[in-house]
């Protein structure tokens, strides 16, 4: 009989502590969003460099408070001429094409802080570039003199991986600004090892196996549903720190303590 009462007491205590823990957890309504973005830097640069046009847009949808699915599409029209001593044309290169990138964004900010408005994280993407290029002039000069040739228009496709650290912040309601640093790793330039693309739409300098870039986005967010998220209570240390930083403002701390007492 004494043993049974010990079991009952411990079960009641365990249940009580579980109830207290559950009640101490907080919940928030996290707005799940579809985002439509326009890359602003490529369009803006076109006003200064008419030989380089890059239009890029993206659509992403939140899968949960941390992960988003991303699809990016863009168009590039690029021409480049390289001179030596201002008059000697080493080569000129023209390319145009479409590119697509798809993958996931991972937001590292906790939902309570991000509230669907702020994001710092990174994306993992696969990129595909469908392009046409030609090299109207290649000039090479050596002991035997100057020789000029050309490469006619050729259709190719290339693919690559991309890791993109990013930052995004809502500036006004449902409008955000953000930038991404793109770290791209070539899988295959499509042109063979000798005529690697000087510029690959969606990738950048195709003569390198690694290509960094930066993009600047204006984003329109459309909330499509709310997701209830249980968040863990902040740790005691953090509360202590808050109280130390705001010694005159102890209401928040007391309120939390009252809530916990009530749930007991």
């Amino acid at each position: 009989m004494r043993r049974i009462s010990v079991y009952i007491t411990s079960t009641v205590m365990a249940l009580a502590s579980f109830t207290a823990k559950t009640a101490a957890q907080d919940t928030i309504q996290f707005p799940m969003k579809v985002r439509i973005g326009l890359e602003a830097a490529g369009s803006a640069k076109y006003f200064f460099e008419k030989d380089r046009l890059n239009l890029e847009g993206y659509i992403s949808t939140d899968l949960n408070e941390k992960y988003s699915f991303v699809f990016i599409a863009g168009h590039s029209n690029f021409s480049y001429a390289r001179y030596r001593d201002t008059s000697f044309l080493i080569y000129d290169y023209r390319t145009k094409g479409f590119y697509f990138r798809t993958g996931f964004d991972i937001n590292l900010i906790k939902p309570k802080k991000s509230q669907g408005k702020y994001a710092v994280g990174f994306g993992l993407r696969y990129g595909l570039s469908l392009f046409t290029y030609d090299i109207p002039t290649i000039t090479h000069e050596n002991y035997w003199g100057k020789y000029q040739t050309s490469v006619s228009s050729t259709d190719e496709w290339a693919h690559f991986f991309e890791i993109t650290p990013f930052v995004r912040a809502e500036i006004i309601k449902n409008i955000s600004l953000g930038w991404t640093v793109s770290l791209r790793k070539m899988i295959d330039p499509g042109t063979g090892q000798h005529l690697k693309p000087v510029y690959l739409p969606g990738y950048g300098n195709g003569s390198k196996s690694f290509s960094p870039g930066i993009s600047y986005f204006i984003i329109w967010s459309i909330p499509f549903k709310s997701r209830r998220i249980i968040i863990q209570p902040e740790e005691e240390e953090e509360e202590d720190t808050d109280l130390e930083q705001n010694p005159g403002n102890s209401n928040t701390g007391n309120f939390r303590q009252q809530n916990i007492r009530q749930s007991f």
Binding site: R82, I90, Y118, I138, N142, W144, T149, L195
Partner: protein, 156 residues
């Protein structure tokens, strides 16, 4: 809480714009842009590497423009091929004795870097030579590129 959070984000967003504006700088060409035939010299009697006391080298009909003129070279000797044809002929004078070497090959453009532009690589097919000072010439690597690899051995 968010009021403290927001200015930090504004700084990061603006700093991204700053990086963007500074990301379009042109870079100079620092890579090797010439694909030479790299030739080493060997003694035909011992088979050991033997640097001639004097080397003179020039393209046929280009005697006024010598590549090496009575040089004691540090091997390898660098021999430039003509891009516009599939053959190049050279006069080579080893220790005062003249020979000619004829290279047969095919060429193709190769992008060095965006900054350096294109060079021509060559694939070496056949070698012909006279036998005054030279005993024989052997192909070691038939791909003539900017990489510093021995392509032929000249035995004299």
């Amino acid at each position: 809480m968010m009021r403290r959070f927001y200015p930090g984000f504004a700084v990061i967003i603006i700093s991204g714009l700053y990086i963007l504006l500074n990301s379009c700088l042109e870079v100079a060409c620092i890579d090797e842009t010439e694909a030479y035939v790299k030739a080493s010299f060997y003694s035909y009697s011992s088979g050991e590497q033997a640097i001639p006391d004097s080397i003179t080298l020039y393209g046929i009909n280009k005697e006024e423009n010598k590549i090496y003129d009575k040089f004691k070279i540090t091997p390898p000797a660098l021999i430039p091929l003509k891009d516009s044809t599939n053959y190049s002929t050279f006069v080579i004078r080893i220790n005062g004795v003249n020979d000619t070497i004829d290279f047969r090959y095919w060429s193709y453009p190769h992008l060095v870097t965006k900054e350096c532009g294109y060079t021509f690589y060559h694939h070496l097919d056949t070698l012909y030579h006279t036998k005054h000072a030279i005993d024989s010439v052997s192909k070691i690597n038939e791909n003539i590129t900017t990489v510093n690899e021995e392509n032929i051995r000249i035995y004299y």
